[in-house]
Amino acid sequence: MSTSAPVSVAVEARAASKIFSRGKPNQVVALESINLSVRQGGFVALIGPSGCGKSTLLRLMAGLVPATEGEIFVNGKAADQARRDRDYGMAFQSASLFDWRTVTRNIELPLELLGWSKDQRSKRSAEMLDLVQLSDFGDHYPNQLSGGMQQRVAIARALSFKPSILLMDEPFGALDEMTREHMQAELLRIWEDTQTSVVFVTHSIPEAVFLAQRVIVMSPRPGRIVADIDVDLGPRGFGTREDPEFFNKITEVREALRAVEVP
């Protein structure tokens, strides 16, 4: 890539577009001219109707698919290079744990791939289990855990090698409301503890507002950014969900979404 982005920016998209099956009858314009910059240590939520290209944008940032046009930078590098450098960790709606590995060995998988020694791995996985409060479950297999616990393991795995960025695609989408709120609080605690930058895809308005410092609203396909809403609710706590400002922000996001709804 000819140009690069300043390193104080965690993720940057410059006029990025994504067209699937270009030139064929089944061509899909998934993303159109996305400009976005996420600062180091920031927490940004991407919200939009289903099929608007949120996952595609995240996969672009992860360097899993190339942009058709424009550029994506992660830590000042081309996204694909950042992927090779293991600059980010990733978590999906399906926890995507490996059934055949115990919880501890799931968390250690990226460390094994990075060639860490056994001692270093056990030390780190113990720390991560502690962080996600699953210390008693290291020897369990994923199928012995609840959905919320599995998702915590997935987060521990994504953070085990201390990436500076966490990319999350509806990670709590399959959880019940109670577990979901609990996991949101956990994620914020981990975010504050680790100073990781987070890009969080969701289709829940309250979730986006509760978690993020910035909510990016996307239009239906082809996905474009239609609003960029700062959320300044201070440190989140039990009171946050009853804060009038919380409701104001929810309303603001909802109206931005409604403005672009398909008739």
């Binding site: 992860a62 293991r86 990733m90 399906s94 995507s96 490996f98 055949w100 998988l109 994923p142």
Partner: protein, 261 residues
């Protein structure tokens, strides 16, 4: 598994088996049809005792053919499946060929194999077993190696894992349940293939030869004793595969325990 659960798993087949044998014995005793139609279980058991060493030798020889053929066929199936799942070109070349081979009534090749390898060579019967085992193992392994969750593949890519690492950490473990399903089928198939192939040639001291020869001499109880030995061998092989399955997939055992009792 708790003792109670184990008992519950074993009891029904045991009851049906023993009950079936008793009924068989009783019906034949009461109706007393001609012995060559179907001998009573007690008569067959008597023959097994009477010809113990002949049957043991024949079973050992046939077992060797079945087990070596099973192992070779399975390894071949797994290796070709790995190549096919890895390289599109290999897949395009091999898959139609494998399907074509599968369409051949493989057991009908036994006389031809005897001609190729020599009438009394064990190679020809091993070859039949290998061919017969290959296909189910190959097809199931390919499925297991390729039907992997998208998220797991994305994850490995996000870790910048190599193709080899993805094969080792995701595709192969993912394929194990498929592989063992096919091995359970193949274990019975291997015994059947070995015995039927022996009808046409190969080692004289083998179950297939024992069965044809005794039947030709109208010694049907002895022929049945051979069938019984083959049945027990098939069951033993199956149980070995089930044991290996549990050994290789401890996470599956916990799954079964959770859903059962």
């Amino acid at each position: 598994m708790t003792n109670h659960a184990r008992l519950r798993a074993i009891a029904p087949p045991l009851v049906v088996g023993v009950g079936g044998l008793a009924l068989w014995e009783l019906v034949l005793t009461v109706l007393n049809p001609k012995a060559f139609v179907l001998p009573r279980p007690s008569v067959i058991a008597g023959k097994v005792v009477e010809q113990w060493s002949t049957i043991i030798t024949a079973t050992t020889n046939t077992g060797f053919i079945a087990v070596t053929g099973l192992i070779a066929g399975a390894l071949l199936g797994i290796m070709v499946a790995i190549l096919v799942s890895r390289f599109q070109i290999v897949s395009e070349a091999v898959t139609p060929l494998a399907v074509a081979v599968n369409a051949i009534p493989i057991i009908a090749l036994a006389p031809i194999f005897n001609f190729w390898f020599g009438l009394r060579s064990p190679r020809s019967n091993q070859g039949i077993v290998v061919l017969l085992v290959f296909f189910p193992v190959f097809v199931n392994s390919v499925r297991g190696l390729t039907e992997v969750h998208r998220g797991q593949l994305d994850l490995m890519e996000s870790f910048a894992a190599s193709t080899w690492e993805t094969l080792k950490e995701v595709r192969i473990p993912n394929a194990l349940p498929y592989l063992f399903t096919s091995l359970k089928i193949a274990s019975s198939l291997a015994v059947i293939a070995a015995i039927v192939a022996e009808y046409f040639g190969g080692d004289q001291a083998a179950l297939g030869q024992l069965i044809v020869q005794q039947a030709a001499l109208s010694r049907y109880s002895s022929a049945w004793a051979g069938v019984l030995a083959g049945t027990l061998m098939g069951m033993a092989l199956y149980l070995v595969v089930v044991g290996l399955e549990r050994w290789f997939m401890p996470w599956r055992v916990t799954e079964i325990e959770r859903s059962g009792s």
